[in-house]
């Protein structure tokens, strides 16, 4: 099982210092866990990071967060990383390529994973929160986030590219000593990179925006708006309040609720032989 994690030179959303984007740190956690599940025979087969850009130092933090080895393709500022990445990935042929679902810094568009999937002719599974070995050999089981805690489980065979959703397990801690021990392999540019697509961007300082609550009453009292925001008029208000129920009854009620919202399959109408 060969796993590559795509790394980008990100910026902290508040302090704007150069950091490894959180999503990619989460991708590393998924990669190391999956690597451990498959068993890592040697250092060369362990999950590794891949970065194309002017400076490897920008992603060196990944070494402290769980990766032992980074590959760095030196590109000039503003060059399109896709051809170089695609060439390198075609050469190393990882079974799984993980990337963040969106960029976190500079002029990133978040389109790189899609461009790579097209260039490598691989399926892209978006927004995964967990990856585990599938039951059948050679398959992977990916849990895809559909937002608000809902998940879809997909089983895929063959090399695949996946992007990571923020709901994935939080990143591992940065270990200074590990970062010291990790290695960065510098690769020369593999293909002549053209300039990246120029996307007109306007930069503005980050500002927290109020959340738009769907179906909120336009007017109404503050209490009503709060109710709408906390969902008390929605699903939560439809529940039944049981005070000090006996365990049997409570279990039945919970099961019935889980069936109602479709988490647990409905009872089998006739018993299996």
């Amino acid at each position: 099982m060969k796993i590559a994690v795509l790394l980008s030179a990100g910026r902290h959303p508040v302090s704007s210092t150069a950091v490894l984007p959180r999503l990619e740190a989460q991708a590393i956690r998924i990669a190391t866990r999956l690597g451990a599940a498959f068993g890592v025979p040697d250092e060369a087969a362990a999950p590794f990071g891949l970065h194309a850009g002017p400076d490897a130092a920008a992603v060196a933090d990944a070494l402290g967060q769980g990766l032992g080895r980074l590959e760095h393709i030196a590109l000039s500022e503003g060059a399109d990383p896709v051809p170089a990445l695609a060439a390198r990935l075609a050469a190393t042929a990882p079974d799984l390529i993980l990337a963040g679902r969106r960029g976190q810094g500079g002029g990133e568009s978040g389109i790189v994973p899609y461009a790579l999937a097209a260039a490598l002719d691989r399926p892209l599974i978006a927004d995964v929160v967990a990856v585990a070995p599938g039951d059948e050999a050679g398959t992977l089981r990916l849990d895809q986030s559909l937002g608000r805690g809902a998940l879809r489980r997909v089983v895929v065979r063959g090399p695949v590219l996946a992007t990571v959703h923020p709901d994935a397990p939080a990143p591992l801690a940065y270990a200074f000593g590990r970062a010291r021990r990790g290695t960065i392999v510098s690769l020369g540019p593999t293909a002549d990179p053209g300039a990246g697509p120029v996307i007109p961007v306007e930069e503005r300082p980050y500002r927290r925006r109020p959340k738009v609550v769907k179906g909120a009453p336009a007017g109404g009292s503050a209490a009503e708006r709060l109710k709408a925001a906390t969902g008390e008029s929605g699903a939560a208000s439809r529940g039944r309040l049981l005070v000090d129920p006996d365990p049997e009854e409570a279990a039945r009620e919970i099961l019935a609720y889980l069936r109602r919202i479709g988490v647990v399959a409905p009872p089998a109408s006739h018993p299996h032989p």
Binding site: H12, V14, S15, G66, P171, Y174, A175, F176, G177, R178
Partner: protein
Amino acid sequence: MTSFMPLTTVFPGLVWTMAALALVQASRRASLWRVGAAAPVAWLHGLARLPRRYLVDVHHVVARDPHASRMHAVVAGGLLAASLLTALAILPPLAGSRAYWLLVTLAFAVTAAGSLLVGARRYPVKQKRLSAGRFQILPVLLLAYAVGGTLTALLLALGAGGIALPFALLAAAGGLGLAFEVRQGPMRHAVAGALHLAAHPRPGRFEGRPDTALQPLDLDAPRLGAAMPADFTWNRLLSYDACVSCGRCETACPAFAAGQPLNPKRLIQDLVAGLNPAEPPYAGTSYPGGRAAEGPRGPLARLIGPDARIHPDTLWSCTTCRACVEECPMMIEHVDAVVSLRRYQTLERGALPEKAIGPVTELRQAGDPGGRPLAARTDFAAGLDLPLMADRGQAQAEVDVLLWLGEGAYDLRYGRTLRALVRLLRRANVDFAVLGAEERDTGDLARRLGDEATFQALARENIATLARYRFARIVTGDPHALHALRNEYPAFGGHYTVVHHTALLLELIRAGQLSPQRLPDLSVTYHDPCYLARYNGETEAPRAVLDAIGLSRVEMARSGKRAMCCGGGGGAPVSDVPGERRIPDLRMAQATETGAGIVAVACPSCTAMLEGVTDRKADVRDVAELLLQAVEAGR
């Protein structure tokens, strides 16, 4: 034997044999300490100061338990005197003097009395904080040696040495037993304890300085922090061997009281047992939660892990409050041990507790554990005029007070305290300014959690910022920031005069710049922050401020340098290791016991922890808030 050698020679000979046996046992032990890392030790100075360190510093701690202190003085003094006198009797003129033997009798009799006091602590029922095991036979050995010695010497004094042989044998049994125990029994504390006092890793403790700053870690060292016994310096290994299992640290430990899986005595004993595979089993109270794992032993054995001797939860439960260090009669440095072990876990393994990863990462990336914008630090002062250092320009004269706001500034509740402090400074016409968005966290949290790299990076950035400005002193309401700035930044080139806000307020009152009214109707009890009282020895200024406003002030059972922690230090709140109770609840209950309506605090962490107690009977108010109330009552 007596047929060809008189008892007056055999008996002193016994003491010399004991000394030789003790020496053999001690050197066997010392070979274990030598696996430790090198450490600079000022031997000559240490040995010269040994008597003073023992009689003054150790006694200061031991005397807190008058019974134990009396017991130890009698038994140790008697034992030492009796053995020395007997040993000297190898000289024929002394051996021939009956008066001399009477003196020896007296010394042994004192030892015997002392042995009974030792026994009284363990029989019929052992005091709870003491360890059993090999310690239970100690009074028996002492008594055998002392009684045998008394009778032998007495008969020699009476000139009836001929019938004294059975008693000399009794003394020999006891005495050789004691000497044997020097290697891994109770008597080890005497040898290791004395050497530890001479080779103490924090000699400043004996020179009247609160030597409490964590020692900087060389980030280029091949291995960061301690993973196994051999990673500790040799004098640290020696110090753990000095532990007498008295359990005073256990009684003082807030995490132990809260039922979290930490017992400082067991922790030290685990370090001892980790080093020495032959160590007899631990016979004291264990870690709460009753964990049984034994784990591998030996100088290269891994100490921390779910299957090792020390569970990671034990390590992360510590609030670094130093209560154990304060109480330890053997002057052992528990917090240093905890931090060395944490450094390895964090720096080499990235094995921070899951909940602490977020705050430490934000600290590293954004200079604030909450990942909040640095410019928002001054938001608490909306409507107050808060002068910025940057606005004063370098050409201007130096500012008297640079007000360090600390992390508390982001907290809504603590913002109230800072507003009160700023109002007081204005009222007293103090020339002050803040760094505003240029202030980064001091890195205290990262350092206590073992992330020395992040701490050092933040320290360097803050020191560079401070170097751009001219100020006479730094004032802060946060004792954690105070400790870092005052005691830990000097190692990185930042030397400042740092004053706690309570000390400044007292100064302003004394100088007449603040004239508070009296508020006699309020009753308060003052909770000492660990990082102010124990780490910096400051317990009087806050009390003097409270007294200046005429509150009726009562003390909790544990106060001053012996106060109990609120649970807020050492990253414990972010690590959040589960226990049976919560530390702040325990402390609040102690405050409630005094009957005071207000708990006065002087630290943002204490404020947050104590305010967070549900069903509080008392109000939590910072000293600055109370003073402002008294000052405004005058208008």
